[in-house]
């Protein structure tokens, strides 16, 4: 029995499907692609599948992963992408399958690129307005948590936005991600929206995941 980490993209239309739908899609491809997947034992056996860091709806992802367990040690995992892609939509494509090197608990950061716009505001102006926010002492937004509403200061994350030197309002940013601490970029954008009293359109791409030492998650 071996663990296998399957790497895939989730883009275009497929960024609009929920985690549950993604799970269904991937499982279908795993089963029909003939992967010798391990089923849990017990009363209601089901294929053993976990997603180290599930992505939220509405975000494009370039490097997502899913862990499965296979029962046939001689199975050649390099055939996984072609076996599964046959049953996957164009927005979800498997590009690699590896033996996991790190436990998912080591995921600490995720890197995103994002582009913002607001109807009736020039991108350049929008960028300046956002940069102006960094002069504030804090940018607070309320977030629902198990213990009720909680105030969060997203200022450090706005400061971390690395804007492109052009006339667009595009940036890259690295945010805490993982089981212990997780900051969702749409929440940061929501805080900016509230502060600027503007309705923002965004497109976000999750580029990669890293460990605490900023090593790529493998």
């Amino acid at each position: 029995m071996k663990n296998v980490r399957i790497w895939f993209t989730k883009e275009y239309e497929c960024k609009y499907i929920s985690h549950l739908d993604l799970n269904r899609c991937m499982l279908r491809a795993v089963r029909r692609g003939g992967l010798p997947i391990w089923y849990t034992e017990g009363f209601n056996p089901h294929p053993f599948v976990t997603f180290p860091l599930p992505i939220s709806l509405g975000i494009d992802a370039k490097r997502e992963c899913m862990d499965i367990r296979i029962v046939d040690d001689t199975y050649d995992i390099t055939q996984i992408p072609s076996a599964m892609n046959k049953y996957l939509p164009r927005g979800i494509q498997v590009f690699d399958a590896t033996y996991p090197q790190l436990d998912p608990k080591y995921i600490c950061f995720a890197k995103y690129s994002a582009q913002l716009s607001a109807d009736g505001v020039e991108d350049k102006t929008l960028k300046e307005k956002i940069l102006d926010l960094t002069k504030l002492d804090s940018v607070i937004i309320q977030k629902k948590s198990k213990a009720g509403m909680k105030d969060i200061d997203v200022l450090p994350y706005i400061k971390a936005m690395d804007f492109k030197f052009d006339n667009t309002c595009s940036f890259e940013v690295i945010l805490p991600a993982g089981n212990t601490k997780n900051v969702a970029l749409p929440l940061v954008i929501k805080a900016i929206e509230n502060n600027l009293s503007l309705e923002l359109n965004y497109s976000i791409t999750k580029l990669d995941m890293f460990t605490e030492e900023m090593k790529q998650f493998l």
Partner: protein, 622 residues
């Protein structure tokens, strides 16, 4: 160019529930170069994505149209209210999922009509697309609005809106009309000329070519074709089920839908002539696919979609002539490759445990029976061939095999029904409960759960009950109450349908052209999703009828005489009116009619010279 929906749509997708229904891009969806196709067809399903994507007819025609290089068929569904609100707010016209193009860019806008309460969605979808609702306001030879599906068996309530109705099965007639359209366009013909020529094609009904006059009491005085249109419109029917087009692949949705699985259609029609059942009469005679074809289609579909469940579709699957042989050969294949079988419309009597246990629907949801009526007398009157002792025997076998769930489907408001018949429903439910406790080998320590569902009977065109008065809402409510009180055990769960929804369904099912103005007004008021409780507003509907000066009871609650001209009389489904009348009379005498395999009753459908009408009957007992 991989994003097919527009930037404007993208901006609202994150603000609606389940955005995955509005994006397209599913596995096996078909993208063509719009500059290289000749005809663009928008296949519109007037309900949500989840429901429309589960519909077999749409899958068949989508694949079939797209199998031609010069046609690009795309899918359109009714956006849910949150999406519709945003689309209207931002002036985003209704678009097709494959190209993201608005419906105005299509040559054909085709609706499938499965349910009367979806009519407002048809109009609402046209309005969302910015297309004029009335046929006469669409003057050019494009945006031709066509409609097919069960409800075209009485197309009249939509006569002012639809350019062309397809009567019967669509595989051939739709394509003939598309070809005629190409020809007319090449010859620069007008829309009117095209419609007149289309009316000559068998299975085509062009409502604008017919003139209706009314008597003072509101009934029809005359119904006359003009411009050479045929007096009787005959249904189209496919006789060779092994060679008719069937898709090798389905679009696999990204989001969960109602029936997310492969489907193989095993036959069309039904040998049983239950007198209330419209599907049974519209689709005569029974035509089967061979085992070989079915197996091959199941294999190909699972291979191309990745589905590991295949459902066998028909009106009454256990009536497939060699059902045991079919299931045996299918389970051999499905066991082998990890696919599970489901049979939604299965009469479980006469099956071995072995076969039953292999069927996923039976395994998962328990046994389902549709006795439809509570007493043998009423079952004879509606010609529903389910006997209490047989039902109990099958339950007994199933209970011994470990099943604990039974679902029983009934109708209330059937012609000739008395309160005694209504009580009979509760009694039959109780008998099933008792049978469980009588069963020695039942699952020990577990109770039984019997679900009794009662829908309200709606008389439908082209059935022996097409002349009957539908029970008024008040009567239905009384019967529901009576039934509820007759059920005394907690082992029975009782479900029933809203009586006022059935009333409205009944009005449109047997309506005439005068109802067009009611629908128009309803559309102007923004009615939509009337089949959904969240949207259905009965009082608002009654208000519309009042404003139009139309009494809905005229259509639903009135008993017609045999010699009245019915709005749908000009359509022939092969079954003669004489046969329907005779069947209606037999109902009142509680006399049953044998099924097509037992004995041919000369209903008229033998005119198609095939299917069960020419089958050799094995047991010539009658």
């Amino acid at each position: 160019m991989i994003h097919l929906y527009s930037k404007e749509v993208e901006k609202i997708l994150l603000k609606v529930q389940k955005p995955g229904r509005y994006t397209g891009g599913e596995l096996n969806s078909i993208i063509k170069d719009k500059d290289k196709v000749d005809v663009r067809f928008a296949f519109c399903f007037p309900d949500t994505y989840e429901i429309g994507m589960s519909h077999l007819g749409m899958k068949i025609l989508y694949s079939q149209f797209n199998s031609y290089d010069h046609i690009w068929c795309e899918r359109v569904f009714a956006p849910w209210t949150d999406m519709e609100g945003l689309m209207r707010e931002k002036n985003i016209p209704l678009y097709a999922l494959e190209s993201g193009d608005p419906l105005t860019e299509f040559d054909f806008i085709g609706f499938t009509l499965q349910y009367e309460l979806s009519y407002t969605n048809v109009l609402n979808m046209l309005s969302l697309a910015g297309i004029p609702l009335l046929s006469k306001d669409r003057k050019e030879l494009n945006n031709i609005v066509v409609a097919g599906g069960t409800c075209t068996s009485n197309p009249e309530p939509l006569a002012d809106f639809i350019d062309i109705f397809f009567i019967g099965e669509g595989e051939e007639v739709d394509l003939e009309v598309i070809e005629l359209y190409r020809k007319c366009r090449n010859e620069n013909k007008s829309k009117d000329e095209f419609l007149k020529l289309a009316a000559q094609i068998k299975g085509v009904y062009v409502p604008s070519l017919y003139k209706v006059d009314y008597n003072e009491d509101g009934t029809i005085k005359s119904f006359a074709p003009t411009n050479g249109a045929p007096e009787t419109v005959e249904k189209r029917i496919i006789m060779d089920m092994d060679n008719v087009y069937y898709p090798y692949t389905f679009v696999v949705p990204l989001v969960e839908i109602v029936h997310d699985r492969a489907v193989s259609e095993i036959f069309r029609g039904c040998i049983r002539g239950c007198r209330f059942c419209q599907a049974g009469f519209l689709n005569r005679p029974v035509r089967e696919k061979s085992k070989k074809t079915i197996l091959e289609q199941c294999k190909k579909l699972c291979e191309s979609t990745g589905y590991d469940e295949v459902s066998l579709s028909s009106l009454s699957s256990s009536d497939y002539a060699d059902i045991v042989g079919l299931l045996t050969c299918l389970t051999e294949w499905s066991d082998d490759c990890g696919v599970s079988l489901s049979l939604p419309s299965l009469r479980v009597d006469g099956f071995t445990d072995d076969i039953m246990s292999k069927i996923k629907t039976v395994r998962k949801s328990g046994l389902t029976f549709a006795p439809e009526a509570g007493t043998q007398r009423l079952r004879d009157a509606i010609n529903k061939n389910v006997r209490e002792d047989e039902l109990l025997k099958t339950c007994h076998v199933a209970f011994s095999g470990g099943w604990t769930n039974v679902k029983l489907y009934f109708m209330i408001g059937l012609p000739t029904e008395t309160l005694e018949d209504v009580e009979g429903i509760a009694k039959l439910g109780q008998a099933v409960v008792n049978e469980y406790y009588r069963c020695e080998y039942r699952t020990k320590g577990k109770g039984v759960n019997v679900t009794v569902s009662a829908s309200s009977f709606v008389p439908k065109p082209h059935t022996p009950f097409q002349w009957e008065a539908q029970d008024t809402i008040e009567t239905i409510l009384n019967k529901q109450k009576h039934l509820k009180e007759s059920i005394t055990t907690k082992k029975i769960t009782f479900n029933y349908h809203a009586a006022n929804t059935s009333f409205l369904e009944g009005v449109f099912a047997r309506g005439d052209r005068k109802l067009c103005k009611v629908l128009l007004k309803a559309a102007e008021k923004g009615f939509h999703f009337d089949g959904w409780n969240d949207c259905f507003d009965f009082d608002a509907w009654m208000q519309v009828f009042e404003e139009c000066g139309i009494d809905p009871a005229f259509y639903a609650s009135r008993k017609r005489s045999f010699d009245e001209i019915l709005p749908w009389d000009f359509i022939s489904y092969g079954v003669s009116k004489e046969f329907l009348k005779a069947e209606c009379e037999r109902a009142y005498q509680s006399v049953t009619t044998p099924n097509c395999r037992e004995k041919c009753s000369n209903c008229g459908a033998a005119c198609y010279k095939g299917g069960v009408c020419v089958e050799k009957r094995q047991n010539m007992v009658h």
